[in-house]
Point group: D2
Chain length 343, copies 4
C-alpha cells in the first residue's frame, strides 16, 4: 500500500459527491483515485471538482484496477450486496452505504464474500460519528450515568419523500428507522431481543396507499433489560428532529437539536429561535467526514472497522421484526426473523 490510501468511488449521486469531496479535501491520508457512475457525466463532474484522476466506465473497472486499495459503494441500495461481493472477490476493502440489502439472504451472501476474502467492510451508519450521539455513547460506556434503564430516540424527517420513492424504499423501517435501530444498538452497546411496533399513516395517505406507514413508536426490549423507544415521523414541520435520551441508575443524558445559530429573539409576541437545521446534509456534515476518516484509519492500520458487516445486518433484522410486529399487532422476537442474530 502506498503512503496514501487509493480509493475508488462507485456512485456519483448526492452521497457519492459528499464522500468524494471528503476524500479529496479533508483526508490527506486518502486519495480519490477513480470514480464510476451509470451516468458517466455525473462521474466526470465529480472527478473534475475533486481532482479525481480517473473516470471509470464501470464498477468492474475499478475492481480490476490494481492501484485501488478500497472502494466506497454509494450506488442504489439494490446494487449494494452484489457490489460488495465483487469488491471482496477483487480484494478491495469496502465502505458501503446503508442498508446492505432489504433481504437477509443477499446480506448473508455479501458478508460471506467479505469474510472469505478477508477484506474490511464498514457500513455507512454515519450518525454514530455525530458529536451528540458520540457524546451519549461515551456517557453510557464510561458509566457517567450508571447502568442504562430507559432509552428514547426521536428521529423525525422534515418532510416525507415522494410516494414514488416510498415504493422502492423498502418501507419506512428499512429506509429511515434503520438508522435508529443502529443507533439503539450503538448507544446501549447491546442487542435487542423483542420489538413492538405501533404505527400508522398520519402524514400522507399516498404513503399508506403504497403499503407503508409514516408515523411510528417502536418499543425495544434489550437483552440486558433496557427498554427503549424509537419515535419516527416522516414530517416534523419545524425541521429535522434528531434527539436521544437515556436514563440510567446514576443520571440521564439527553441531546437537543442543532441550530444554524445560537440567537434568541424576544419580541412582544414570543421568545424564539430560528428553526433547527432542516436537512440531513447540514445536520450530519461532520459525521460524514468522521466516518470516512475512521474507515481510512482502520484500513491503513489493519484494524477492525467501527461499523462492521454484522452491524449492517442486525438493523435489517430489526426492521423486518418491526414490520412483522406492525402487521400482526404483537411483540415480535428478533429470533423469529433470524436464528443467526447475536450468534
Amino acid at each position: 500500500m502506498n503512503s496514501k490510501l487509493n480509493i475508488g468511488i462507485i456512485g456519483a449521486g448526492r452521497i457519492g459527491r459528499v464522500h468524494a469531496e471528503t476524500i479529496a479535501f479533508r483526508l490527506p491520508e486518502a486519495n480519490p483515485a477513480s470514480i464510476a457512475d451509470i451516468n458517466p457525466q455525473a462521474a466526470a463532474a465529480v472527478a473534475a471538482r475533486c481532482g479525481i484522476a480517473h473516470v471509470a466506465t464501470s464498477a468492474a473497472e475499478i475492481f480490476d484496477d490494481p492501484g485501488i486499495d478500497a472502494v466506497l459503494i454509494c450506488s442504489s441500495t439494490d446494487t449494494h450486496a452484489g457490489l460488495i461481493v465483487d469488491a471482496a472477490r477483487a480484494g478491495k476493502h469496502i465502505f458501503c452505504e446503508k442498508p446492505v440489502a432489504h433481504g437477509l439472504e443477499r446480506i448473508d451472501e455479501a458478508l460471506a464474500a467479505v469474510e472469505k476474502a478477508g477484506v474490511q467492510l464498514q457500513i455507512g451508519f454515519n450518525r454514530r460519528f455525530d458529536a451528540n450521539f458520540a457524546r451519549v455513547r461515551v456517557a453510557v460506556a464510561s458509566g457517567e450515568i450508571g447502568t442504562p434503564h430507559l432509552m428514547h430516540i426521536v428521529s423525525r424527517d422534515p418532510a416525507p419523500p415522494p410516494a414514488s420513492y416510498v415504493k422502492v424504499s423498502g418501507g419506512m423501517f428499512l429506509d429511515m428507522t434503520i438508522h435508529d435501530f443502529d443507533m439503539a444498538r450503538f448507544l446501549i452497546g447491546g442487542e435487542v431481543e423483542e420489538i413492538y411496533t405501533a404505527a400508522a399513516v398520519m402524514v400522507d395517505p399516498e404513503i399508506g396507499a403504497a403499503g407503508d406507514v409514516d408515523t411510528a413508536v417502536i418499543t425495544l426490549r434489550f437483552k440486558n433489560g433496557v427498554i427503549g423507544t424509537i419515535d419516527n415521523s416522516r414530517k416534523a414541520v419545524y425541521g429535522y428532529d434528531q434527539r436521544v435520551e437515556i436514563l440510567g441508575s446514576a443520571g440521564s443524558i439527553s441531546t437537543a437539536n442543532c441550530y444554524p445559530n445560537q440567537a434568541v429573539v424576544s419580541t412582544a409576541e414570543s421568545v424564539r429561535r430560528d428553526l433547527p437545521l432542516n436537512f440531513f446534509m447540514d445536520r450530519y456534515t461532520d459525521s460524514f467526514v468522521n466516518e470516512l476518516r475512521a474507515f481510512v484509519q482502520a484500513v491503513m492500520e489493519g484494524k477492525p472497522t467501527p461499523v462492521t458487516g454484522i452491524d449492517g445486518r442486525i438493523p435489517v433484522v430489526m426492521a423486518l421484526a418491526a414490520r412483522k410486529s406492525y402487521d400482526e399487532r404483537r411483540p415480535v422476537r428478533l429470533a423469529e426473523i433470524s436464528s443467526l442474530v447475536h450468534a
Copy 2:
C-alpha cells in the same frame, strides 16, 4: 348556600393539610368549616393552624352537619369509595383524592351514588392545573400544533417508596402511572383504546419481591389514532422529572422541568444548573390551589367540575389494562377490562 362555600375536610394528613391551607388562606370564597381525622390531634393541629372552627369526631359528623356544603376526601385510598357514597347520600358536593379505588366495582358504586344524589364530584388529578400541562392542553385544543400525532409523557420520581408502601399501593400503575393516564386523556382530549406495557424491576429488587415493577414504557393507542408513550421510573437521581411532548401536524410542544432558580454556573468543569425541584409538593404547589379554586367555582356556579367521576374511573381501567399487558406480554384493549369504558 351562604356567600362562602362551607367545606368539611376528611383527613388531616399531608394532602389534607395542603388543601386546608388553600381553603383557609388562598380561596376567599371558601370557608374551612370542619375537619376530621382518625387521629384527632392531627385534625386539631390543622384546625388551629387554619382557623377551622370545628374539629369533628368522624366523617359522619361532617356529613350530618347541615352547614357543610362540600367535602374534601383526603383520607387513605381504601376509604375513598365508601366516603363518596356516604357524602353523596348526605347531599354534599365532593372533592376526592385519586384514585377513587383500586377496583372498578367499588368505583361504580361510588359513581352511582353520586349520580343518584345529583351532587358534584371532582377527582384530585391536580396536574391538569399545572401551568406547563395546561399550556400543552391549550396548544392541542386551539390547534396551535395542528392535529396531534404522537405524545410522550415522562414521569419519574426522585426515589422509590418503601417496599411497605408498595405492597398497599395497588402497584405502580395504579399508584403512580394513574396520574399519567389521566394526563394522556387530558392532553389529547380523547380516549385510549389499547395499551402495551414494557416494564421491569430495575431500581429496587424489593419492589419486585412485592410483585410490582419500578420502570416502564407504556404505549397508548388512542381512538383518534394518536400514538403515545408513558415513561415511568421510580428513581431519577437528579430529581422529579415531569415532562410531556406532543407532535402535531403543524408543530410540536414540549415542556421542561421546573427548577428552584434560573441560575447557570460555568466553571472549568461544566456549565451547570442546580437540580430540578425534587418533591411533588414543590413542583405542583400552584396546581393544588388551582384545582380547589376550580372545584369551589364549579360548585358555587352549579357547573360541571373539570375532573369528573368518569375521569376518575377511566385511569383505573387503564392501569388494570397496563398490568394485564405486562402480565401477558401483549397489547390489551381497554374493552377487555371494562365494557363500560367510554359509554
Copy 3:
C-alpha cells in the same frame, strides 16, 4: 411581646395589600393587628380581606397603640422618613418600603431617630430575597466562582410609567435603578467607589420633557476592584427583564428570566416560548413573602435585619452620583455626594 408579633400596617395601596396578605396568610408567627390609610375605605377593605381586627384612623393611632410591636410603612415615598421618625420615637420596629427618601438629609434624620430609639429597621429591597439573586449571592459568598471580576445587572421594565408619575418619582435612578444599586452591593458584598452614567431618552419623549431619562448604562467601580454595569430601560416589549451575571476567577454565574411555563412550541416559523413574566408582582411574588419572614424573625429574635437603614441610604447616594455623572458627563466618586458613605 406576645407569642405572635403584632404588626400595624400604614398604607393600603398595592404593596400594602400584598404585605397585609403575607402577614395574614403566610406568616403564622405574625398577626396583622391594625391598618391605616389616608383613604379609610381602602384600609377597611384590606382589613376585611385579611382579618385585621382594627382599622386605625391615622398612622399616629397605630404608633400610640401599645399592642403594636412593629409597623410596615407602605405609604408614599415622601412620607417614609417622617413616619420612620415617629415610629422610632414610639418604640416600634420598622419595615419601610424603598426608597427612604430622595434626599440624604431626611434619610439621616430618620436613621438617627432609629438609632436613638434602638428599634430595628428593614428596608424593602425585596429582590435580595428572590431565588435567582439569592443563588448568585451564594455563588459569590461561597467562592463557587472565585474572586469576582465583572458584574452585570440587566433591569428593564416592560413599559414606562406615565409622565405624571415620572415627575414625582425622583427620576429613574432613584425610582428604578435604586433596586439595582442595592442588588450590586448585595451581590458583590462590597461598596462602590465611583459611578459613570451613559443615559438617554429613547423610549418616551415625555420622560425627557419631565427632565428624566429612560435608558441607561451605568458603570460601577467597586472598592475591591470589581467593575460592574447596570443596564436599565423603561421599556422591554417582551416583558420584565431581570437578570444578572458575575464573572469570577473560577467561573461565572448568570440568571435567566422567569416564565409562566416551561413549554416550547416548534412550528414551521420558529421554536418559541411564551413571554417572560411581565409584572413585578408576578416575578417577585415569593420575595415579598421572604423579606417579611426575615423581618419578623429578626425582630422576634432580636437580631439585625438583613437590609438595614444604611442599606437604604447608600443606594440613594449612588442614585445621586449616577445623576451627577449623567449631568456632568464624567465619572463621579460617591465621596463627592456624601462624605459619610462607608464610614
Copy 4:
C-alpha cells in the same frame, strides 16, 4: 483574470495555514498559487499540504508575479502596513489580517496606497461572518427588533497570552478588543462618538507589569444614540465566551455560546453541559471560510469588499481612545484621536 482567482499567501503561520487550506479545499473559484514565509520550511510544508505550486522566497517575489491576482497578508502585525503598500503598488488585491497597524500614520499610508492603486482591500475581521453575529446584524438591519437602544458585547478569552506576547501585542485594546470594536460598528451599522473605559489587572500581574490591562468594561456612545458596552476578560475558565445582546424598541436579540455538542447530563449533583468551544479556531471555523469566500467574490465581481480599509482603521482609533480613557479616567471622544474619523 483567469476563471480562477490566483492567490499568493504571505505568511505560513497558524492563520496563514488556515487560509491556505480554505483557498485550496473550500473555494473552487480560487487557486492558491504561491506562498512565502520568512521560514521557508513552513511555507514548503503548507504548500505540500495544500497543493500550492510555488513556494516564493519573499513577499516581493509574489508581488512581482504577474500570474497572481490577489494576496493574503498573514504575517506579523508590524509588517502589515508595509506589505499593503507594496502589494497595492504591484496592483494586487489585498486581504490583510487585523490590525492593519498599531499607529494611524502607518494605516493612513497603507490606505492611501490602496486608494491610489485602485485595488481592493479587505481586513480580516472574520467574526462578522460568524452565523451568530451575522444573524444579529440581520435582526438589526431588517428592523426585526426595531430601533436599537442598547448593545452589549461579551468577549472573553479562555486564558491570557504569555507576557512576552502581551509586550508586542499593542495592548489588549489593539489586540483583543479590536475585534469587538469592529463588531460594535458592524452590528449597529453606525459609528461611535465617545468611549469610556473602566479597566484593571485582575487576571495576571505580569500583564500589569507589561503596562497592559486584562479586564475591562468599555462604554460606547454611538452617534445615533445607541449606548453599548464591551466586556473583556483575558480569562474565562469555562472557555471562549463570545456573546452579544441588542435591545431595540421592538425587541431584543441575544446569542449564546457555541458548544461541541448539545448534550445535557443530569446527575445527583447537577444538570450540566460540557464546556463551550475553547479555542477561536474551533469557534470561528466557518467564519474564516466565509470571509475568504466574500473576498474572492468581491474581487472577481469587482465589487467593494465587505470589510474595507476604513473598517480596519476605525477600530484602531477606538482602541487608542479606549486606552486614553483608561489613562485619563474620563470619557474620550474619538475626534480627540483622529479628526479624520467618519469623514
